[in-house]
């Protein structure tokens, strides 16, 4: 289209010159725009490069297999070379287990609440109720995670501990349960709004067919809509899980510091993100395995969340295509 315009401008020399100048500036503008778009690519490269580079330095000191399969995590570095236990232990298994435990609790809280909320909003609620409740639920996602962390550490955890005491349980004040429940609250809106979109994308013809056969609304939802929406819902659950695994502030404030391999939600566990924060706040020496191990943990976190995201986005995309 633009080329056609230049042809019509050949009426006079000055116009041709202006056309050339315009073309030059058009190329310059285009170049600037491409550069801006490439910032996103550069960020990805920057993330991967910085994590890989520092992790490789870490793996020169600690073998990869020790890191991935080691059952003990105590990243102390010695003050003197001859000190006992100076090497430290860098087994990431307890951290991964702790992360998964807390994320699992969060998903157990958030999945039923988020999914049922989405179903109600998409299928039952009137437009008016929907328009008031949806933004309210999304408020939960807008609250900074440090606020959830404060709530978990200073309100939920003492409540659980006192409740447990009165029933004869011993619940640690940094229990996985407190962090997990609070994280679940945070994740509800992710699940509810994504699932809501997915359920809305199910074609009305499926509903009409089901009603025509005499099914009630609940039967239609359970036997027609949910099966049709399953891939999309699975995608939204995966995205929410990835969010839970990468969440930092709630666990930094409410979960423990000591690495412990346990499946008991009443005990204190630590997570990958907690360890990254504890290793990197305070004094750092960039040649010690202790500091570098934070980057190896970061790489691990990045890879896990990336895999979850890629799978989830692919499922959701394919699902959308199915009904487009």
């Amino acid at each position: 289209m633009a080329k056609g315009l230049y042809v019509s401008e050949t009426a006079g020399m000055s116009i041709i010159k202006r056309g050339q100048r315009n073309r030059l500036s058009e190329t310059a503008v285009r170049l600037i725009l491409i550069l801006c778009a490439l910032v996103a690519v550069a960020t990805t490269i920057g993330i991967v490069a910085s994590l890989l580079f520092e992790s490789l330095r870490f793996f020169q000191k600690v073998p990869l297999t020790d890191f991935l399969f080691g059952l003990e995590w105590s990243p102390q570095t010695a003050l003197r070379a001859d000190q006992v236990g100076s090497s430290g232990a860098f087994g990431a298994v307890p951290l991964i287990a702790g992360t998964l435990l807390i994320s699992a609790i969060a998903m157990l809280v958030a999945t039923p609440l988020g999914l049922m909320s989405a179903i109600y909003l998409a299928e039952y609620a009137s437009a008016k109720t929907r328009n008031t409740i949806k933004p309210l639920l999304e408020l939960l996602a807008g609250i900074p995670t440090v606020v959830y962390g404060f709530f978990a550490a200073l309100i939920v955890a003492p409540m659980l501990r006192n409740g447990g005491e009165s029933m004869g349980f011993e619940i640690s004040s940094e229990s996985a349960l407190a962090a997990g429940i609070t994280m679940g609250m945070m994740i509800i809106p992710f699940i509810s709004s994504l699932s809501d979109d997915v359920i809305n994308a199910v074609p009305q013809s499926l509903r009409d067919a089901s009603y025509g056969l005499g099914a009630t609304q609940a039967e239609t939802i359970k036997q027609v809509i949910l099966p049709a929406a399953t891939p999309g819902i699975a995608g939204s659950l995966l995205l929410a899980t990835s969010r839970a695994i990468g969440e930092t502030m709630i666990v930094v404030m409410a979960a423990g510091l000591a690495a412990k391999l346990t499946a008991n939600p009443l005990e204190a566990v630590t997570t990958v993100t907690v360890q990254i924060v504890t290793l990197l706040t305070g004094d750092q020496e960039f040649d010690s395995a202790k500091t570098l191990s934070a980057f190896a943990l970061g790489l691990l976190l990045f890879v896990i969340t990336l895999i979850l995201n890629v799978i989830a986005l692919r499922i959701v995309d394919r699902y959308k295509e199915q009904y487009d």
């Binding site: 801006c36 440090v146 990336l306």
Partner: protein, 425 residues
Amino acid sequence: MTEITGILKTAGSKRHRAEARFRAYGLIAIAVSLSFLLIMIGSIITRGSGAFHQTFVQIDVELPAEKLDPEGTGDPDVLRKARYGKLLKAALRDRFPAVKSRSDKKALYKLLSSNAEYTIRDQVVADPLLVGGTHAFWVRASSEVDQYMKGKIDSSLEESRRRINDKQLAWIAELQDAGKIEKRFNTQFFTGGDSREPEQAGIMGAVAGSAYTLLICFVLSFPVGVLAAVYLEEFSAKGRLNRFIEVNINNLAAVPSIVYGLLGLAIFLNVFNLPRSTPLVGGMVLALMTLPTIIIASRSSLRAVPPSIREAAYGLGASKVQTTFHHVVPLAMPGMLTGSIIGMAQALGETAPLLMIGMVAFIVDIPGGVTEAATALPVQIFLWADSPERGFMEKTSAAILVLLGFLIIMNLVAVYLRRRLEIRW
């Protein structure tokens, strides 16, 4: 026949019960989710509202000229160096002459904030004519007295189990009878920097740090984000590069925020040697983090501009760049701004990446620029929440209320912009 209708009836009612149950589950789920929100906000408001008031004690302090300014110069530097703590302690002893033993005197001094002497210093420096007389000053009470006055310390507990002893309670009662102790609006909380003493701590330093950080974040991410969106929507061929960039952006939007902190630490601090703990680096990291949000919002805003606008511009002889920047972008601007404000609100609440680049230091001074060490509002909340002092619990909740206030304002601005400016095609 009757049998069949009976079966149909029960079947119907059973199915209807199932229907009602299912519907109720949905309502319960929403109610539980919203009650989480309510409980959280409610408990923070009840805990935090106290921090907006602070207990002050009025005390007559003698300001002898020979101790403060022996040569009578009135020079602020001389006045600033004088030892007001001693004068304040003497004033307390005069106020309660019955206190004799060493330990009682210590308990007496603990009624006032350890920073109370600076209140007097500042007033004397501001008005040197006070020197030589005895004047009444309102000074900050200590955090324990403040908590007691706010009803947070139960005086019916055993003496050994509370932070304030019986004698101190008696002194407070005496001050109360004389009307010399009262709660006032706590301006220090809004105008002061951080402090080790809860009664002295303020959020201005953190607010300023957050403001500088967001400024850098916006200046970097808004133009880049908008231009990237313009490229992807208006200029690029829908080819492989476009698809690659798109996948990149979608994945970046889901990268955990702490990973951006690691990027900032490894590249901005260690490779480029930018100054640690500064809003400059914090803003750069947050800019990278909000970029996907801004690009995604800007793209959908550009997509909403109807093709007829572009065709009309081309028809009048405008070039591609002219069409885009004179017509399409201005029309898409309200949507782009709305998306950016929401991105900025996310950045304002972000904590983890800032911890990585060292914005967690204890900083008393209010930062004056983007290259000065600073902390940010959410980081300040994290630091206070970690503090064992009881008085900080209240300050933390109050700081959260301030942060939520800012977020609400930003979101309201976004909603307003959307309502007022956005064009529905």
